[in-house]
């Protein structure tokens, strides 16, 4: 029961159906990869998991440790331990990272967090990411480079310590050094109390975050599953090969 479960999920935006019966399970303690070509619905799935009100869920369910979170608001989902690292983190001018992180941590824990406790946590996270303290006094994502934004998402991940994280193309637009740093952050979270779904278009990230399972999504459905070797196969053969196979099976 300790798992993030997506059960026959159908969802649409502006009348267009994007997800067409997604079934996927990420057990706690494992890191899974979600791969697929552009437009497959991967990012949509990530946003729907986090409760983006832009999308309408038409059918199916999302269960966090056996409990449906479909009717919960995004903040309630977050407080239950779900985290989405955004593909495009949003700028919030005038709000420092430190201030925001502490508010978020307090919301997550449901209690006041003292300066010392907060500081200890943040310092540890900064070390993992090899990041400078001065970032804490910068405004949330404002004027950040793509890489800095992604790093900031992982900083939040490390400080908030969710039970489940969805990383939406955290690797996109990163050079290899930044990629390694992000991977280090996710790997630091790995353990029996953490499950993650790493959404990526390319295999590259999976060299550094080795997944327990790989799911492949096409046209709003999971069409293939396998071990880490599946990612390598996709890298070698491309998605067309899989698309043909899916057609044949149908």
């Amino acid at each position: 029961m300790n798992q993030l479960e997506i059960r026959d999920l159908w969802a649409s935006i502006d009348g267009e159906t994007i997800l067409k019966g997604v079934n996927l399970v990420v057990p706690k303690g494992q890191v899974h990869a979600l791969m697929g070509p552009n437009g497959a619905g991967k990012s949509t799935l990530g946003k729907i998991l986090a409760g983006d009100p832009e999308y309408t869920v038409e059918r199916g369910d999302i269960l966090l440790d056996g409990e449906s979170i479909l009717d919960l608001s995004p903040d309630e989902r977050a407080r239950k331990g779900l985290f989405l690292a955004f593909q495009y983190p949003v700028e919030v001018p005038g709000v420092t990272i430190a201030n925001f992180l502490r508010l978020a941590l307090q919301a997550k824990l449901g209690r006041e967090v003292g300066v010392a406790e907060f500081w200890t946590k943040v310092k540890k996270a900064l070390e993992v990411l090899d990041w400078d303290e001065s970032y804490l006094s910068r405004h949330l994502n404002e004027g950040f480079s793509g890489g800095e934004k992604k790093r900031n998402e992982i900083l939040q991940l490390l400080v908030l310590e969710p039970a489940y994280a969805v990383l939406d193309e955290t690797d996109s637009g990163l050079d290899i050094d930044a990629l390694k740093v992000v991977a280090r952050g996710v790997n630091a979270m790995r353990g029996p109390n953490f499950g993650a779904l790493v959404i990526t278009h390319y295999q590259r990230l999976l060299n550094y975050i080795v997944p327990d399972r790989v799911h492949v999504m096409m046209d709003g459905r999971i069409v293939a599953e396998g071990g880490p070797e599946l990612a390598l196969e996709l890298e070698a053969k491309g998605y067309e090969w899989l698309r043909e196979r899916v057609k044949e099976e149908a």
Binding site: E54, S73, D75, L84, F100, A104
Partner: protein, 468 residues
Amino acid sequence: MSEADLRALGEEYKYHFVDEVKPVFVAERGLTRRVIEAISYHKGEPEWMLKFRLRALEIFQKKPMPTWGPDLSGLDLDNLVYYVKPAEVRDAKSWEQIPEEIRRTYERLGIPEAERKVLAGVGAQYDSEMVYHRVREELERQGVIFVAIEEGMKKYEDLFKEYFAKVVPPEDNKFAALNSAAWSGGSFVYIPPGVKVELPLQAYFRVNTPEFGQFERTLIIVDEGAEVHYIEGCTAPMYSTESLHTGVIEIVVKRGARSRYTTIQNWSTNMYNLVTQRALVYGDAFHEWLDGNLGSKVTMKYPSSYLLEPGARTEILSIAFAKTGQHQDTGAKIILGTPHTSGTIVSKSISKGEGRASYRGLVKVLDGAKHAKANVECDALLIDPESRTDTYPYIEIEEDSAHVGHEATVSKINDEQIFYLQSRGLKEDEAAALIVRGFIEPIAKELPLEYAVELNRLIELEMEGSVG
């Protein structure tokens, strides 16, 4: 602070609500010669002041109501009480007598104790408090005058007369005339040449704090090379049964001096808040206005700086928050009168519900003010689809070598920001409040910490239940 604590405080402290204080004298309704004479008599004023008041009354009666701004048709000037002389502070009022809404806000704001006392009108009590006592002693040692305006008029008559109504004469506008006729309460401040007052002067340091002024009048003179930061008012909602607050603030910043006037006001929502604030800034001097307007029904307030000699500079920062039923018509004026003067206006407004926030500003560069520079930035944030903002930027340039920039932005709280913050565990209204706090941060960071904290809390209260 729990409600029980506050209730305990309430036993000791008396609040300044006009209807709850047994007054010694209440003037008849409307502003008449008789009322003015009565005010002057009760204050024991010199003859010249009575004459001044009566002259102002005539001007007030002649001037029409301004029609270029917000709707003032709900303001019945003939039906107001213009003067109430309160009784001595004696009988404690119970906490329960304070309107529930205001009590709750005090509580949740965690108003600094000293300020709570001011709100409670217990001026006399903190004479005994060592910290304030020491501050006052230090000020006196430096020759700083910081007293109630009535005391300033009597004790320092020559100095007072030299500047009083010179910055804002009664002819300036109808409400300046009204204030000039009926003024009561406020501060008189004089900083001698070269004296740098380190701590901000806050109204609650003032000795013998008089009654809360419906028509408060403050005169601040910062002599050559002196420095001061004056803070007026507070962020707790000030409640009054009378629906008009008309203040006049006059500031003289002499050569090489620096001054800052900070005020954050949160009037009850029945209030017309019509204030004239003006500073005369001399050579190489610098004056800042930091102005926050929350609450009230209508606010008309445009802090002004007149840059009179070369090298004079000014900065005007303002925040306005308008909710349903409120019109905040605020802004700033800078007159650049001589060469090498410069000024900056930063105005941030937030409109929520059907609230309306207007920026109204004037930058005027006079002929011959060579290389004068001014920059205006006004940003509006709209919370709801029905919220409204307007910008009325008047720019008059008579000098070719002047540089004047103007930038205006209107933004909405965007759903992506809300979703992002929510996905980190913040509730929807907390997320919106955080975005608003971020929006005003460039101004809030200029406030002394306790005021910044208070302002943030206040914004959170204002934003509660605002979305979803």
